[in-house]
Amino acid sequence: MAGRDQHGMVQKRGVGHWFTHLGLIIGVLIIFFPIWLAFVASTVTQPEIVHPPMPLWPGDQFFNNYRDALVSGVNAPVAKMLLNSFIMAMGIALGKILISLLSAFAIVYFRFPGRKVFFWLIFLTLMLPVEVRIVPTYEVVAGFGMLNSYSGLIFPLIASATATFLFRQFFMTVPDELAEAARVDGARPMRFFWDILLPMSRTNIAALFVILFIYGWNQYLWPLLITTDPSMNTIVMGIKQMFPSGDDIADWPVIMATSILAMLPPIIVVISMQKLFIRGLVDSEK
């Protein structure tokens, strides 16, 4: 009896598993289909795309299209745009992490006049995303002559209240005795920061790096505003720039190849840092 009951339960669970999997597979297919179409479109010729029905299986133009995209592109070579995006995303991610680590360190470990005020000022900027302050920011960046430059792309986006807040919360969970032990051991504040606090925050840093890299990579409005020179275009805005205006003909295979290429770096970052990323979000290693 007991054995049969167990058997029944296993079977029932088995059926449940099948349904769960079926649901997941359908979901993945629905999400993945547009990406598949983009990939297919990047491997065929222009006439094949514009004549319905659209092909569903890759063609033989893969190397041609990707070579065209990377080397010449439409306005600027995609290789150059990828490089621009990469520099911007890395600059934003690393810059944000460095600045927020240091400001969180200052807020948590030092007593200085106006400490609370500064913290709330930083916190307040959470309410001011790029879009809200975009006109004055543009004015400032233009005034410094930073249009069409990497510094113009990076610096206005480099301060991060979110990251500062996150590191502040993390630093506050680090026992005070650790800082005191380091003081007795003879570590001056920056030494403590580099030797102890930074290694302890590495999973948080990794998690934040992934989020911020993608945030930087996906920036659209800001690069669109301040880069007029095609050689400074980033890839996300560059795709839009490739769209034809007026009667021009869109070079769809190249545009689609560019789209696929634009997706790769964030995917690589996420996959390569997945382990650390999850640990950073879940673990609280003390």
Partner: protein, 338 residues
């Protein structure tokens, strides 16, 4: 090797006075235990010696030189913290070597010093482990090792055993004592546990509300408590206190203190005070008999475990030698018995 001197040491946080002036001369190699209930300022006192807390007034001297304005690292002290405060991302070796690395000690010497400390503390096989892979007792040893390798003038212990279980605590207590003896380093040790204080100290400071109520050798403090607080805090079970009116011959207006081990039970009407047994705790080697006196005060008598314990509700008298009787004035100070 060092002497430590605290002169009228005071500390206030804002307007709250936490330490009201502590004086003590600690000679080279002495083991001083600072004991008191939580909130009495014992940790603050230790942290002032360490340099983790600023001094409001008075002076801390190490080897005759004032160190009030010196950073912890320049005082040549080492501290063992309650939660060990080991660096979680460093292995045992690096934890112990960190202070030496900062001091730019040559690598070979660091390795040698860490090795010898590890040997002393039986940590040799754990040198490559991270703190989270160690048991509580081992972490405690690493924290001690970190203090030893620096060859400090003074060891400071801030309740180092309070996170260990009872058995380990007894064992580590012994190890700390032996270690301190063999190294001969002047030590200050903070605890709220009077057993630790009694067993470890050469001299102890009993703190009460920011005041050093009594400073002296453990047995001296036990035998001759200078205040009512010390009499109640040192010794377990605690001293019995009775109003003078209850005890014939006691100076009027004083409080009479009698230690449970000095009192014996006797038949009713033959004791100095009378009462009823409310309950008794048999601990094997000893039995604690709790009485409710006729005046409704509580009284505890400690008797040998071999003696028969009286039943609950049993009426009896309590006797003690008048020489064991202590008198305390209204201010809590001891009054010399005439």
């Amino acid at each position: 090797m060092a002497t430590v001197k605290l002169s009228n040491l005071k500390k206030s946080f804002g307007k709250t006075d936490v330490i009201h002036g502590v004086d003590i001369d600690i000679s080279d190699g002495e083991f001083i235990v600072i004991v008191g209930p939580s909130g009495c300022g014992k940790s603050t006192l230790l942290r002032m010696v360490a340099g983790l807390e600023t001094v409001t007034s008075g002076e801390v001297q190490i080897n005759g030189a004032g160190v009030n304005e010196k950073e912890p690292m320049d005082r040549n002290i080492a501290m063992v913290f309650q939660n060990y405060a080991l660096y979680p991302h460093m292995n045992v070796f690096d934890n112990m070597a960190y202070g030496l690395k900062i001091a730019k000690t040559p690598k070979a010497e660091i390795a040698e010093r860490v090795q010898s400390a590890a040997k002393l503390l039986q940590l040799e096989e754990y040198l490559t482990r991270k703190p989270r892979e160690l048991s509580g007792g081992q972490r405690q040893r690493v924290a001690m090792g970190r203090a030893i390798v620096r060859k400090p003038d003074v060891f400071l212990f801030d309740e180092p055993l309070s996170n260990l279980d009872a058995k380990l605590r007894v064992q580590m207590r012994l190890e700390i004592k032996q270690l301190q003896r063999s190294l001969g380093v002047t030590s200050l040790y903070v605890t709220h546990d009077q057993v630790e204080a009694m067993t470890l100290a050469d001299r102890m400071i009993v703190m009460n509300g920011g005041i050093a109520d009594q400073i002296g050798a453990p047995l001296e403090v036990y035998a001759n408590p200078q205040t009512e607080f010390v009499a109640g805090f040192i010794g377990s079970p605690a001293t019995n206190f009775l109003p003078a009116a209850l005890v014939s011959g006691a100076p009027a207006g004083t409080t009479v203190g009698v230690r449970p081990e000095h009192a014996t039970l006797t038949t009713p009407d033959h004791g100095l005070v009378e009462g009823q047994v409310s309950y008794s705790e048999a601990l094997g080697s000893e039995t604690l008999v709790h009485l409710r006196l006729s005046s409704d005060a509580a009284f505890t008598v400690r008797q040998n475990g071999m003696e028969p314990a009286p039943a609950e509700g049993h009426a009896c008298g309590v006797l003690w030698n008048s020489s064991d009787q202590m008198h305390f004035g209204a201010d809590g100070r001891r009054i010399a018995t005439p």
